[in-house]
């Protein structure tokens, strides 16, 4: 994977104290992130986010070894939302078509619906979020995952954005 651990194309508006990282370091989005700076995203490459595909609605999906997909929201989304205090998630067994609304996340001052990145069936929901909704903010790509689903139509993945495309997308909507 390209330049793993190197910081990518930071605009001069970013202030950052991110260290130069090499492959042997275990990378977590938290260590890569500077203090969240509303409206800006730190563009990074990491082993965590490089595996993900993104929707234009700021969800990500990671295909697991068992062929199912894990779904969450992006760092950009959790920063915009603020401290998540409530996660409304679907029941296991729910059938979803791509773009179906499957739940909602709420912060003190904002609410946001969640839309399924793919067609499939919900096989697991992150029960830790009931008591610890803040995981979505603290660890949006790992511990703050929302749900897992079967991938009914793998071709749908091809239409989703990879990390580079998603970074470009974010920058385009910020402008």
């Amino acid at each position: 994977m390209a330049a793993c651990g190197l910081l990518r194309s930071l605009s001069s508006n970013f202030f950052t104290v991110l260290p130069l990282l090499n492959r042997s370091v275990t990378l977590s989005p938290l260590r890569l992130a500077s203090t969240p700076y509303f409206g800006r995203t730190i563009t990074t490459s990491s082993r965590v986010t490089a595996d993900l595909k993104f929707t234009d609605k700021h969800e990500w999906i990671r295909v697991e070894d068992d062929g199912n997909g894990t779904i969450g929201i992006s760092k950009f989304a959790q920063e915009a939302l603020g401290d998540v205090v409530y996660c409304g998630l679907p029941e296991v067994g729910t059938q979803l078509a791509q773009q179906d609304e499957f739940g909602a996340l709420e912060s003190v001052k904002a609410a946001s619906e969640l839309y399924s990145p793919l067609t499939g069936e919900v096989v697991e929901v992150n029960t830790l979020l009931a008591d610890n909704p803040g995981l979505v903010n603290k660890s949006c790509y790992t511990d703050g995952w929302l749900m897992k689903m079967t991938i009914g139509n793998p071709a749908e993945l091809d239409a989703l954005m990879d990390e580079a495309a998603y970074d470009r997308y974010i920058r385009s909507i910020e402008d």
Binding site: T35, E59, A80, Y86, V108, K109, A110, I173
Partner: protein, 425 residues
């Protein structure tokens, strides 16, 4: 997450902003987009499409807010910080545990002078202003002839020959028009009243460590200034300030009216204390809701009477007899007769309850509507205010709220939801 609905119900018109259909809308309301590309010399334009049509006004702290990482939003015609670098919850809890500064310069500050100033004020509000002691203030209400609430405000009877009045930014135009019209009537009748709208900045310093921080900058003994009392003072070397022990958070706190040219200096002095942080409109709203305080435009407005609004205590004992305030003929009989609906607090768990959420009886009939609601950072439950049919208004009554088309149990609750800490000496 297609679009995030940013719920900014923080005063005045009680805005409920629906962001445009992608997250961009949220960003534009809350973040860099609102100020990033405009180094405008005169009024910022609010770039949210269809949101504000006029340029936003700036308080004397505007540049300072941005330097401090404030995320600016348009609110009641002003560009105000909704939060800074800390998260909403962190800022909220810091106020409850330490001390926060809020810029409230957008609110209208008025001085009423003249021998007949009390009579003038009483012709507009429901309270016993004449009975106020020197330098004592009270929450009061401007009312309409139909008994509705025009605004809530604080009136302080200073020992300087004037009444000092603070009212909501979102009602500034209608309040000032109403006061000016009444002033003209009084002058025409040969009475001695005059009014001036102040240019001073206003900052609120709220939280348990306020006194320890502020005392360092005051000659006056803060321990003698009790809740709802006011004094002129030199604060951290800045003369001509008015310090009033009041606020909108439920914590011990003050509001300091300070010359606009020196408010940045005062704010920086206060911030140099490690106890003190800046806080924005976001946490201001969750703090006041926990304290059970109404937000004009959401919880009270011209369609609600003080009795429906559970604000009977604001109606002066003498005024109930003399019935000499606007709408008295409608409001006073309601005190005995009761009203069909009442403002209550409610608590629930599960999905957060927000403005406009329907309130249902246990058997599913609509009995009211939520006017303000948010997850409580202190209680980790959902709190809300709303109006319900009076039959359901007793504390402890089991009700339901309809959230995302599902009925969720809730309970009518007394307010404040979180105990207050007003300083009584």
């Amino acid at each position: 997450m297609m679009w995030a609905r940013l719920l900014v119900g923080v005063g005045g018109s009680g805005l409920w902003l629906r962001a445009s259909r992608d997250l961009r809308g949220l960003l534009r309301v809350g973040g860099a987009a609102c100020v990033g590309r405009r180094q405008a010399s005169s009024g910022e334009e609010c770039p949210v499409k269809g949101h504000c049509t006029e340029a936003l006004k700036k308080t004397p702290l505007f540049d300072f807010h941005r330097e401090q990482g404030g995320k600016m939003v348009g609110f009641a015609g002003w560009s105000m910080p909704v939060q800074y670098k800390d998260s909403h919850i962190a800022s909220h809890m810091h106020t409850r545990e330490h001390c926060s500064i809020f810029d409230v310069s957008h609110m209208l500050q008025t001085k009423v002078h003249g021998k007949d100033r009390v009579k003038f004020m009483e012709s507009l509000v429901v309270g016993d202003i004449a009975e106020l002691k020197d330098n004592q203030g009270t929450l009061s209400l401007f009312t309409t002839e139909k008994g509705g609430i025009i605004d809530d405000l604080i009136v302080t009877r200073t020992d300087q020959g004037y009444l000092y009045v603070v009212s909501n930014a979102g009602c500034a135009d209608k309040d000032s028009a109403r006061m000016k019209a009444r002033l003209a009537e009084f002058k025409a009748a040969g009475l001695d009243v005059d009014m001036e709208f102040l240019d001073e900045a206003l900052i609120a310093v709220q939280g348990p460590s306020m006194a320890q921080v502020l005392q360092q900058g005051l000659k006056e003994d803060l321990s003698k200034l009790t809740f709802m009392n006011s004094t002129l003072a030199t604060v951290f070397g800045i003369p001509g300030c008015r310090v009033t022990r009041c606020g909108y958070t439920g914590e011990d706190g003050v509001e300091i009216s300070v010359p606009a040219s020196r408010v940045v200096e005062l704010t920086e002095k206060l911030l140099s204390h490690s106890e003190v942080k800046l806080a924005g409109l976001g946490s201001r709203d969750s703090l006041r809701l926990e304290a059970g305080l109404c937000l004009y435009g959401n919880d009270i407005d011209e369609t609600t009477t003080p009795v429906e609004g559970t604000l009977v205590w604001t109606i002066g004992k003498r005024r109930r007899q003399t019935k000499d305030f606007p709408g008295a003929d409608i409001i006073v009989p309601q005190i005995k007769a009761k009203t069909a609906r009442k403002r209550v607090g409610l608590v629930s768990t599960g999905p957060p309850v927000r403005q406009h959420t329907p309130i249902l009886s246990p058997d599913g009939k609509v009995i009211g509507e939520v006017t303000s609601g948010c997850p409580s950072p202190c209680l980790k439950k959902n709190i809300a205010m709303g109006y319900v049919d009076s039959a359901f208004a007793k504390n402890g009554t089991a009700i339901q709220v309809e959230v995302r088309k599902k009925a969720v149990p809730a309970t009518v609750s007394k307010m404040p939801f979180v105990p207050t800490n007003y300083y009584s000496g």
